[in-house]
Symmetry: C2
C-alpha cells in the first residue's frame, strides 16, 4: 500500500454501537490540502453532509476528516448539527486547526444521536495515535455491515505523487452513492477549482455505477484531499491524475459491490447499442436492480426471460428481434429468442461474470456493477437493528 | 360464490410444466359478451397479449377465454403467434364459434413454446367438462408460483346481476400489472365502449396499486366480459357497476399481494399531503419497492430511517421537519424525528398493517399495497426454473 506524503491516520474504539473494533477514525494532513466533496442527493441529508456541503461553499482547504460508524447522525434535526459542530470544535482545539478545516462523515443507524461526550473523551487518544501507517485501521473504523476494510492505492505515473483511497459500503448502494463513504487522498498539488471540477465526473463513472439494492442513503460522501507534499502537479499531468484517481474510485466501487450484503456474485450489466447514454444507463440499472434477475444470479440460472422483462418494463420501444444477450462471451439470447443455456449456466457458476445486452437502437452504452440477491441479504437486513 | 348467468367453466391437466393439477382452463359464455381488455406495457409482449390487443381493435364481442399456466408463450417470435392462433382455431371449431371470439392468456416460463398438439388433444375433454360451478378450477389452472386460487364475487346492488373475478399472480407484480392475469365476468349488459372506457380506470386503482417486486411482465392481462344474461344495465346504474367491479378488482389485487412470493406481511403504504397525485404515488412506490424497507417489514423492525431514505431518494424536495410516519395509528416519526418504537413494533407483528406517511407539501394522496421480502422470496426465485 502506497501512502501519500504528509497524511497521518488514527482510529479508536468508542463503542458507539459496535464493540471490539474501532469506530472513530481520523485522517490528518500535516499541511493544508485543497479539497473537493460529492454528497448524496437524498432529500434527508445527514448533519455531517449538511456541514460538509457548507464547508464546500466556504473553504478551499481542509486539514482533517473525522469519521465514525455506528451512528449516521441523520434525521437528528438541529441537535444533530449542534452535536457535530461541538465535536469538530473540540477536535480542532486539540489539533490546533480551525473547526472549518475538519470535514465530518458518519455512517450507521439513522435517527440516533451521537454520544458526543463519550466521543470527545477519546479525542486525546485519537490524536496521539496519529501515524502514517494506520490507514487500514481508519478503513476498519468506517465499517458497518461491511465484512472487510476497503483500501486502494496507486502511484501517479511519471510523478512522485500517489493516491490512496479508503471506502465503506455494503448495502443501500445506488443510484447516487448510498450509505457509502470514500476518502481519497493525494500528495499531488492541484487547485481546489480543478478538484471540484473533476471529482463529480470520476464519481459518476465509479461509485455511481454500482448498485446493491437501489437505495440511496442520507450520508453518502466522497472527499478528495490534495496536500501538494509531492509538489504542485503541472497542468499537463492533470489528465493522468484523473485517470489514476478514477481507477482508484473504480477499484473501491468494485470492493463495495464485492462486499454487497450477502453477495455471492459480482455481475457487470453492460448495455450496448442503446439510443442514448441515458437510455443505456436506465436499461442497465433496470436489470441490475431487478430482484427477480438478482435472485436468478444467486441461483446461477440463465433466466434470460427475466432480463428481457426488466429491459422491457421501461417501455422504451425495444423490439424483441433487436436484442442479443451474452453471459461473458456465451450467447444466451439471439434476436430476442433463447438459445441453449448449458454453456451460459456454466459461466454463471463463476464468482464474477458480465451480462452483455446488445440492442439495435443506436450506439450508446453503459455498464452497471451489481451483485446477486441471496438469503444472506434478507438475513442481514431483517436483523440489522433488532 | 356468486356465478353470473350464462358462463361455463372447465379445466384439465395437460402437464405443460406442472403435474397433478389443472394447467389449461376455459371460460365460455353461452351468448356473445361485450368485452374490454387491459394489457402489460412491457416492450416484450407475449403472443397472447399481441393477439388480445389485436382482438380489442377489431372485435366488440367475445365468447370465451382460453388460459394456460406453465408456459408464457413470450419471446417466442412469429412461431409463438402461430402456435396461439392454431390453438384458438382448433378450439373455435369444437366450440362452434369464430377464432376471433376467443381471447387467449398464458402465464409461466418465458421463452418456451406451447406444446400445441398436446394441448389440442385435451380440447374435447376441456369442452365437454364445461359447467357453471368450475370457476375455482379455472382459477387453479391459472396458478404458477401462487399458493391458492383467487376468486372473488359480488352482486351488483339493486340488480339481479353479479360480477365474478378470477386472478393469478404472486411475483413480478408491479408497476403496471406483471405476471398477472385477471378475468372479470358479469351477466350485466353494457356496451363495449363503456367497458373499454371504465376498465383502465378500475385497473389503475386496483391491480396497478400493488407491488411484490417492482417487475412488470410480458403477459399481464385483464379481460372483462359482459354477456347481458341478467339484462342490459340502465345507464343510471353504470356508476354502481363500476364501483362493484372496482371492489372485485381490489379484492383480487389484495389476494395477489397476500400470496406474494414468500410474503408473511401485507403492508399498505399510504402517502398523504403530497404535492400531486403523481408525486404521492411515486413516493409510495419508492417505499413499497425498497428491499431495505421490505426486509425490515419481514424483521418487524420499525426502521423508520429506511422509510425516510426511500422517500428522500427521489429528490422531490421534501423537508425532514414536514414528515410524519404512523404504523396504523401509532406515531413513529414526528417532524422528521424518530419516536419510541415499542408500540410501532407491536403493530408490525400483525399480519397486516398500514404505513401512513404525512407530508406537508400539498393535499394529494396515494396508496400502494406491498408485502415483505423474506428468505422464502429468494428461495422461490432462485429455484423457480432450475
Amino acid at each position: 500500500m502506497l501512502v501519500p506524503e504528509g497524511y497521518l491516520f488514527s482510529a479508536v474504539e468508542v463503542g458507539i454501537k459496535y464493540r471490539k473494533r474501532p469506530d472513530l477514525g481520523l485522517i490528518y494532513s500535516e499541511s493544508p490540502a485543497t479539497w473537493a466533496g460529492v454528497f448524496t442527493r437524498n432529500d434527508f441529508k445527514a448533519a455531517p453532509v449538511l456541514i460538509g456541503k457548507e464547508r464546500l461553499r466556504t473553504r478551499e482547504t481542509a486539514r482533517a476528516i473525522l469519521v465514525n460508524s455506528g451512528c449516521a447522525n441523520a434525521c437528528t434535526g438541529r441537535e444533530g448539527l449542534v452535536d457535530a459542530e461541538r465535536l469538530l470544535s473540540s477536535l480542532a482545539e486539540i489539533l490546533g486547526v480551525s473547526p472549518g478545516e475538519i470535514l465530518p462523515a458518519s455512517t450507521g443507524v439513522i435517527g440516533t444521536r451521537l454520544p458526543v461526550e463519550r466521543m470527545k473523551a477519546h479525542f486525546e487518544a485519537l490524536v496521539s495515535g496519529l501515524s502514517p501507517d494506520k490507514a487500514p485501521l481508519v478503513a476498519r473504523a468506517m465499517m458497518t455491515t461491511d465484512t472487510f476494510p476497503k483500501v486502494v492505492s496507486r502511484s501517479i505515473p511519471g510523478t512522485k505523487a500517489s493516491i490512496l483511497g479508503l471506502a465503506k459500503g455494503a448495502g443501500m448502494i445506488a443510484p447516487n452513492m448510498a450509505t457509502m463513504l470514500a476518502f481519497v487522498l493525494t500528495d499531488a498539488g492541484l487547485p481546489a477549482t480543478e478538484l471540484r471540477r473533476g471529482l463529480p465526473e470520476a464519481v459518476a463513472v465509479s461509485f455511481n455505477r454500482i448498485t446493491v439494492d437501489g437505495d440511496t442513503s442520507t450520508n453518502d460522501t466522497v472527499y478528495l484531499l490534495a496536500n501538494s507534499r509531492a509538489g504542485e502537479l503541472p497542468q499537463e499531468s492533470w489528465p493522468l491524475f484523473w485517470e489514476t484517481l478514477t481507477e482508484v474510485c473504480r477499484e473501491l466501487a468494485y470492493l463495495i459491490v464485492k462486499d454487497g450484503e450477502g453477495a455471492t456474485k459480482i455481475v457487470r450489466i453492460r448495455v450496448e447499442g442503446a439510443e442514448s447514454p441515458e437510455a443505456a444507463e436506465r436499461l442497465a440499472r433496470a436489470v441490475a436492480d431487478s430482484p427477480l434477475v438478482k435472485t436468478a444470479f444467486f441461483g446461477e440460472d440463465p433466466n434470460w426471460g427475466r432480463i428481457l422483462v426488466a429491459l422491457g418494463k421501461l417501455g422504451l420501444g425495444l423490439e424483441p428481434e433487436g436484442v442479443e444477450v451474452f453471459i461473458n462471451e456465451v450467447p444466451l439470447v439471439s434476436r430476442g429468442r433463447g438459445l441453449p443455456e448449458e454453456a451460459a449456466h456454466r459461466e454463471m457458476t463463476r464468482p464474477e461474470f458480465t451480462v452483455r445486452i446488445k440492442l439495435s437502437q443506436g450506439s450508446a452504452s453503459a455498464e452497471i456493477m451489481t451483485c446477486d440477491l441471496s438469503y444472506e441479504y434478507v438475513k442481514i437486513n431483517a436483523e440489522y437493528r433488532t
